[in-house]
C-alpha cells in the first residue's frame, strides 16, 4: 500500500543537483546527495568474456582499473562504479560476488594510495518471466536473491534491480497505445511486484549492512521512451511515452516505501519526481549516456541529479583510451561543472540552463523539468489511497501539464494521441478493485500466460 503522503520539498525551487534531503553514505568516504555530484560509471564486458568466470572477472578488473586510473589522471574526486549484471553474473551467484569483491579491492587500493572516494552499486538482473512462471517462487527469483547476497557479501555498497513485474502486460499495451493496460501493468502490477521484491531486497541489505538503492521502470517507461525515440521515429507517440513516465514514478516509489534509501538507479528517468517526494538522492543519466541510448532531454535530466551516469558502455579501445576511461572522463567534467556551480553559488542558474535546453524539445523533458515533476509528485502523494489511484493521478496531471503549456508544441498526431489517452484515463473506474477486475477480464484473454496470482491477486 502507498505510504508517502507528502512532499519532501516545500517547492520545486528547493530541488537541486548534488543535494538531497536524506544523503546516504557508504563505500570509501562516499556521500551521495551531500552537496556534491559524483559520476557513476557503468562498464560492460565484451562479448565472449562472459564464457567463464575467470575471463569475466579479469575483464572487470581491467575495466575498473582503467576507470580508476582515469579518475586519478584528471583529478575526479570520487566515483561510483555500477556492476550492472549481465545475465551470467546473476545466473551464477558466485560470479556476481567475485566481481564485486575484485572491484572493491581495486577501489580500496586507489583510496589508500590517492584518497579517491568510491562506491559500488550492484544491479542484479531480474530475469523472471511473468508470463511463463510463478514469479514469486521460481528458480529465477531464488537465484536473483542469492546473487543479491553474494554481491553484498562480496563488496557491493548499494543494491539495485530493474524489476519486471507487469512487463507481460505493458509489452502488449505499449505497442498498442493502450493507456489503460499500461496503467495496469505499471501502476498496479508493477507496484505490487515491487512491494514484494523490495521487502526481500531491503532485508538482504540490512543483513549485510549495505545500502538498498532503488529500482527503475526500465522495463516499461524506458521501453516506451526508447520506442518513442527521436523526432522521426514512428513507433510510439512521444506523448504516450510521457504519460507512461508519470505512471512509472508512482510505481518506482514503492522501493523507498519498502525501505530503499537511494541513490536510485540511473536509468529511472522518473527519479526526479521521486526525489521531490522522498528527498532521497538520485542517479540520473542524459547526454553522456548516449553511448547506451539516445534521449531528448540530455541536459534537463541532470537538473536534480546526485549521481550522473553513462548508463552502460561496452569495453573497447578508442583513440583516447578505452571506452570506460573515456566516459569516466566526460562524466567527470560534467560533474565538475555542476560542482563548480555549487561552490560558486550559481547552481540555480546552471540548473535553469539545463532545463531550458530541453523543456520544450520534447514532452519527456517537459514533464520532468523540476516544476512539472514536482506537480506530478504532488498528484501522487495527494492520491495515496491506492497504487492505482496515485498512478492514474500522475498520468492525468502529466497530461494536463502538457496540454496546458502553449510553448510545448505537438504535431496533430501527437496531440490526438494524448487527448485520446486522457479521455480513456478519465473514463476509468474510481476504485482500484474495479479497475483490477476490469483489466483482469480484458488481459487474461489477450495475453497468454498472464496470471493475477503472480501479483498476489
Amino acid at each position: 500500500m502507498p505510504k508517502y503522503d507528502k512532499m519532501a520539498y516545500a517547492s520545486a525551487g528547493e530541488m537541486i543537483f548534488g543535494t538531497a534531503k536524506n544523503p546516504v553514505k557508504y563505500g570509501r568516504d562516499f556521500t551521495v546527495g551531500g552537496g556534491q555530484v559524483f559520476p557513476e560509471l557503468v562498464p560492460h564486458p565484451r562479448p565472449g568474456t562472459e564464457a567463464t568466470k575467470k575471463t569475466l572477472v579479469k575483464e572487470y578488473e581491467k575495466m575498473v582499473t582503467d576507470v580508476l586510473d582515469r579518475c586519478v589522471a584528471i583529478g575526479i574526486p570520487g566515483i561510483q562504479i555500477e556492476l550492472e549484471h549481465v545475465y551470467q553474473m546473476t545466473k551464477n551467484p558466485d560470479w556476481g560476488g567475485e566481481i564485486a569483491s575484485a572491484t572493491k579491492h581495486l577501489q580500496e587500493e586507489y583510496h589508500r594510495k590517492y584518497g579517491l572516494k568510491s562506491g559500488i552499486r550492484a544491479t542484479i538482473a531480474d530475469y523472471r518471466k511473468p508470463d511463463e512462471e510463478d514469479i514469486r517462487n521460481s528458480v529465477a527469483i531464488e537465484t536473483s536473491l542469492k546473487t543479491f547476497e553474494t554481491s553484498a557479501a562480496g563488496g557491493a555498497d548499494v543494491l539495485s534491480i530493474e524489476s519486471v513485474g507487469g512487463k507481460e502486460i505493458s509489452d502488449y499495451t505499449i505497442v498498442r497505445q493502450d493507456i489503460r493496460g499500461t496503467l495496469f501493468g505499471i501502476g498496479v502490477l508493477g507496484s505490487r511486484d515491487m512491494e514484494y521484491m523490495w521487502k526481500k531486497i531491503v532485508d538482504i541489505a540490512n543483513k549485510y549492512g549495505v545500502t538498498p538503492g532503488g529500482d527503475t521502470n526500465c522495463a516499461q517507461a524506458n521501453v516506451a521512451m526508447f520506442m518513442a525515440g527521436g523526432y522521426q521515429d514512428r513507433s510510439v507517440p512521444h506523448t504516450f511515452a510521457a504519460l507512461t513516465r508519470a505512471i512509472a514514478a508512482a510505481r518506482s516509489l514503492v522501493a523507498y516505501e519498502q525501505g530503499a534509501k537511494g541513490p536510485s538507479k540511473d536509468c529511472g528517468y522518473e527519479d526526479v519526481i521521486i526525489k521531490s517526494i522522498t528527498g532521497n538522492p538520485i542517479a540520473m543519466e542524459g547526454k553522456t549516456c548516449a553511448c547506451a541510448h539516445s534521449d531528448l532531454l540530455g541536459n534537463l535530466v541532470a537538473a536534480c541529479c546526485d549521481l550522473w551516469s553513462n548508463e552502460a558502455v561496452e569495453y573497447h579501445d578508442m583513440f583516447g583510451g578505452t571506452t570506460v576511461a573515456v566516459f569516466a572522463e566526460i562524466l567527470g567534467y560534467d560533474v565538475a561543472l555542476m560542482n563548480t556551480a555549487i561552490q560558486m553559488g550559481h547552481e540555480k542558474v546552471l540548473q535553469e540552463l539545463m532545463v531550458q535546453s530541453d523543456k520544450y524539445r520534447d514532452t519527456h523533458g517537459f514533464i520532468l523539468c523540476p516544476e512539472n515533476a514536482y506537480e506530478i509528485g504532488k498528484a501522487i502523494v495527494g492520491n495515496n489511497t491506492s497504487y492505482y489511484a496515485r498512478a492514474k493521478a500522475a498520468a492525468i496531471k502529466a497530461g494536463q501539464l502538457m496540454l496546458g503549456d502553449s510553448k510545448l508544441q505537438m504535431s496533430a498526431f501527437e496531440k490526438e494521441s494524448l487527448e485520446s489517452a486522457m479521455r480513456t484515463l478519465d473514463s476509468l473506474p474510481e476504485k482500484e478493485e474495479d479497475f483490477i477486475s476490469e483489466c483482469a477480464d480484458i488481459y487474461k484473454k489477450l495475453i497468454p500466460g498472464f496470471t493475477l496470482a503472480n501479483y498476489g491477486l
Binding site: 562479448p47 551470467q88 511463463e132 498498442r176 514512428r234 530541453d358 520544450y360
Partner: protein, 249 residues
C-alpha cells in the same frame, strides 16, 4: 528569472516539419458492408470487428470479405505505416482486428486460409528482452505466416530441435545483449552441421550487421517491419546468401 529569447538557436523541432500534411487512408469500398470492414481494420477497432465482419458475411462469401475487406485494409495500413502516416501501434491494432476478422471468416469457410509458410521466432538464451520478437510475431502473423513462438531465454538446443522438427522457411533470433547474442553463432553452427540452411534472421538492440554477417546463415534484421518481406523472400526460394545480399548491403 531570465527567459529564453529564441529557442530556435537551442533546438529545432524537426518533428514538426511537414506536420499537418497528413493524407489519410486512400482506399474505400463502394459496398457499405465492406467499407465498414475496411474502416474497422484501418482504425484497429477490435471491439467492433466481429460485428461488421458478420454483417458483411451475411451478403458476401468469406473470401470476398477476406480479400476485399480485411486484407485490402491491412495493405493500406502497411502503406500508411511505411509512409510515416501511421505509427507502429496503428499497424499493430489493425493487425489485431484483421486477425480477429480472419478467424470469423475462416470458421465460416470451414477451413483455415493456407499460411504462406512457417517461421520460428525466439529470443536468445539468457535474454528476456523479447519485445522486438513480439513485434516480429505480430507483423508476421498479420502477413499470413504461421509463427511458432519459442519465447524468450530459449536454449540453443531448443531452437535447433524446433527447426529440425518444423522445417520453417525462416528462423529468427532476437538478442539485446552482446553477451547473449553469441548464442546465434552456436545455433548457426549446429544447424549447418545437421545440413540445415534455413535463413536465420537475427536482430535486436545490441546486435549489429557486422556481427550477424560474421557467421553463416545469418541475415541481419534492423527493424521488425522487415520480417514479413524477408519471410516472403525465403518463401520465394531466396537462400541466406541472397537474402544477405538483398537486405544487408
Amino acid at each position: 528569472m531570465a527567459t529564453v529569447a529564441n529557442y530556435a538557436n537551442i533546438f529545432t523541432r524537426y518533428d514538426l516539419i511537414g506536420a499537418g500534411a497528413a493524407k489519410g487512408a486512400m482506399v474505400s469500398s463502394k459496398d457499405t458492408a465492406l467499407q465498414k470492414v475496411l474502416e474497422c481494420v484501418l482504425e484497429g477497432d477490435s471491439d467492433n470487428i466481429a460485428a461488421v465482419v458478420n454483417e458483411a458475411l451475411a451478403t458476401k462469401d468469406p473470401m470476398t470479405v477476406i480479400n476485399d475487406g480485411l486484407i485490402r485494409g491491412m495493405n493500406e495500413v502497411s502503406r500508411l505505416w511505411d509512409e510515416g502516416e501511421y505509427y507502429l501501434p496503428q499497424a499493430i491494432v489493425a493487425s489485431d482486428a484483421m486477425l480477429q476478422g480472419l478467424d470469423i471468416c475462416e470458421k465460416k469457410l470451414g477451413q483455415s486460409l493456407e499460411k504462406k509458410g512457417t517461421v520460428i521466432t525466439h529470443t536468445a538464451e539468457g535474454d528476456i528482452h523479447d519485445l522486438g520478437q513480439k513485434i516480429v510475431n505480430a507483423l508476421l502473423r498479420a502477413n499470413g505466416y504461421n509463427v511458432i513462438d519459442l519465447g524468450k531465454d530459449v536454449p540453443v538446443d531448443d531452437v535447433v530441435a524446433a527447426v529440425k522438427k518444423n522445417k520453417p522457411v525462416m528462423v529468427t533470433g532476437t538478442a539485446l545483449m552482446t553477451t547473449t547474442m553469441t548464442a546465434f553463432e552456436r545455433i548457426s553452427n549446429r544447424l549447418l552441421k545437421d545440413g540445415f540452411e534455413t535463413p536465420f534472421v537475427c536482430g535486436g538492440g545490441a546486435v549489429s550487421l557486422e556481427y550477424v554477417t560474421g557467421y553463416k546463415l545469418g541475415v541481419y534484421g534492423k527493424d521488425a517491419s522487415q520480417a514479413p518481406g524477408m519471410a516472403n523472400d525465403a518463401v520465394n526460394g531466396l537462400g541466406w546468401t541472397d537474402m544477405r545480399e538483398k537486405w544487408n548491403s
